[in-house]
């Protein structure tokens, strides 16, 4: 922690600042363990999940496989350098073992698990940010039409071609388009901007939902319709590393910006006019948050399909854990969201021989747990 260096400070204030320092250290300690616990939990979950499934791999083997890949990566670099310098090559790390467990862990499970982590993190961080921006704990990331737009885009692509890349691209573009329309339309509506955004979101969402229904109506019921419905229920199966990497780019960008500016959410939570009185350029900050959240949730939804409930409940549970200060709330939301979706996805793929849709599970497990958490706390709402 940084030391205060004010030479002219008198004894009383020095004492006070010592006391304050102590209090602040206590405060940051109170927040610290939970993030560290969550990170450790995430790493353990990650390794366990890689081993989990119909072809079980022990945690030890998972680590071996992971390290062998890291090792071979390093070896490639070393070989490159030594070749460049014309030095004799003595390999330190061997090539990775290629057996069934390697294929299962790296080719099949790793993309899916990475996807669960980034999608969960993206949705709950976007949810937490929107709840701060709209000063309402009941807001979810699809408030401005991301899900409705993505659903329509996916259905359209399924009807037109059914190519997986096209479905993802179309879902992503239409999600952005929907929010773009909402943002533009809300400028025209007179009065409170927050309210006009919510209302425009409502209207545009139902417009896209209606168009989606139309797509479902004209879809081929033996082939296309089940694909659309399956997509809408959310799933992380059949993803490869390239899909995940493409989704990760906008998600990581949005995440970085939101996490860096996270204290500003405390200022925003005071209300629009007061935030302005406190020197906040409300129009600019609102646009930044909406762009980041939309990029993140659109990228998440386009690879996972529609997964509700994570973005609403995880920020809420995080708030119960660490309080409403966004400086701690947003990182905890992110970590908790990643862990939650990973657990849900593990259940989805292992509970039966038939894969359970993710959207179904997030609600079925999330809703009762949420009610339990709410009933457990004495203090008021939010």
């Amino acid at each position: 922690m940084k030391k205060i260096t004010t030479p002219t400070i008198d004894k009383q204030t020095t004492q006070k600042s010592h006391k304050l320092k102590f209090l602040m250290a206590l405060k940051s300690l109170r927040g610290l363990p939970i993030s560290i616990i969550l990170i450790i939990l995430l790493v353990c979950l990650f390794i366990l999940s890689l081993g989990l499934g119909r072809y079980p791999v022990s945690a030890e083997n998972v680590l071996q496989i992971l390290f062998s890949h890291v090792g071979s990566g390093i070896q490639t670099i070393i070989t490159g350098i030594t070749n460049l310098l014309n030095l004799p090559v003595t390999p330190i790390f061997g090539p990775p073992v290629s057996d069934i467990s390697n294929t299962v862990v790296i080719q099949i499970r790793l993309p899916r698990i990475l996807a669960a982590l980034i999608v969960g993190a993206a949705l709950s961080l976007a949810g937490g940010s929107f709840q701060g921006l709209f000063r309402n704990p009941l807001v979810s990331p699809d408030l401005l039409g991301v899900s409705a737009g993505a659903g329509f885009g996916a259905a359209l692509a399924i009807l037109l071609s059914g190519e997986r890349i096209l479905i993802q691209a179309s879902a992503f573009c239409f999600a952005l388009l929907a929010v773009g329309i909402v943002y533009t339309v809300s400028k025209v509506i007179k009065g409170n901007r927050t309210l006009s955004l919510v209302l425009a979101g409502l209207a545009i969402s139902s417009l896209f939902s209606a168009s989606l229904s139309l797509m479902e109506y004209i879809a081929d019921p033996t082939d296309q319709l089940p694909t659309i419905i399956y997509w809408l229920m959310g799933s992380l199966s059949s993803l490869n590393l390239t899909d995940v990497a493409f989704a990760a780019i906008p998600i990581l960008c949005g995440m970085t910006v939101l996490l860096l500016m996270r204290w500003r959410f405390n200022v925003l939570a005071m209300g629009e006019e007061e935030a302005q009185a406190l020197g906040v350029n409300i129009g600019r900050i609102r646009a930044i948050i909406i762009v980041c959240c939309t990029l993140m949730s659109a990228a998440a939804v386009c690879i996972s399909g529609i997964i509700g409930w994570v973005g609403l409940v995880i920020p809420h549970i995080s708030r119960l854990l660490v309080g409403p200060d966004h400086k701690r709330l947003l990182p905890v939301s992110l970590l908790l969201g990643a862990a939650y979706l990973l657990i849900i996805d593990d259940i989805a793929r292992t509970i039966s021989s038939l894969e359970v849709p993710l959207g179904v599970l997030t609600a079925m497990i999330g809703a009762p747990f949420f009610l339990y958490m709410l009933s457990r706390r004495g203090k008021g709402w939010a």
């Binding site: 304050l20 500016m261 204290w263 200022v267 005071m270 006019e273 406190l278 020197g279 409300i282 939010a382």
Partner: protein, 262 residues
Amino acid sequence: MGIKLCVNHAEYHYDFEKSHGFKDITLTLEDTGIMSILGPNGCGKTTLLKCIDGLMKLCKGNISINDKDLCCMSRNEIAKIVGYVPQFHQPSFAFSVLDAVVVGRAPHIGFLNSPKEEDFLIAKQALETMGISYLTDTPYTQLSGGERQMVLIARVLTQQPSLLLLDEPTSHLDFGNQIKLLSILQKLANTGLPIIMTSHFPDHAFLASDKVAIMKHGELVDVGSPSEIMTESNLEEVYKIKVKIVDVDVGVSRRICIPIVE
């Protein structure tokens, strides 16, 4: 410190309803001290304060601070000079009082930064000035209306402005706290911080004002020292009731305003 505020033929009207706006207001404030704005409900006091803080844009005329037009200043620039406390505040999340007060540092903290120890120290000192240090860790949502008002003023002090705008700061306080707040404000004014506040109590203007402005139907009736301006005829004209202004001497000598019920 020194601040020069000029309001020049300012006019503002809402497009749906004309009554809450104001027109042709010219005011200058160069000296320190407390200026009270009196006037009946809906005469445009709050709107005027919001315009001085640049939260609402004037329809006509201009407002300048230290000879710089308000329209040419960024929000952050204004917030470093002018602090504004609204009448009501509806809290949304259960922030601790300290977290809610340190938000006042926002104009001094970079966009991607968060408050440091120094900022928390300033916030704590503001809580102490307001005499509410005991509330530091209380959730903001659990405060009474009066406590919340004190917290809001602590927040605006944390902002360290050179001009304070308070919209009916005494309206949610009990009898004792009203007077305590007025004496705190007077102390602040004595340290060289000019304050403009709106009020519904002529007595408060007698108690703690160096200057009074009276508004009616969005127009400025009169500006001047309390004893010059707060006359029976002025108050009767504005509030439409009978009042008596008397000097009392019961150990302390002071001028008070007595409403007459017929």
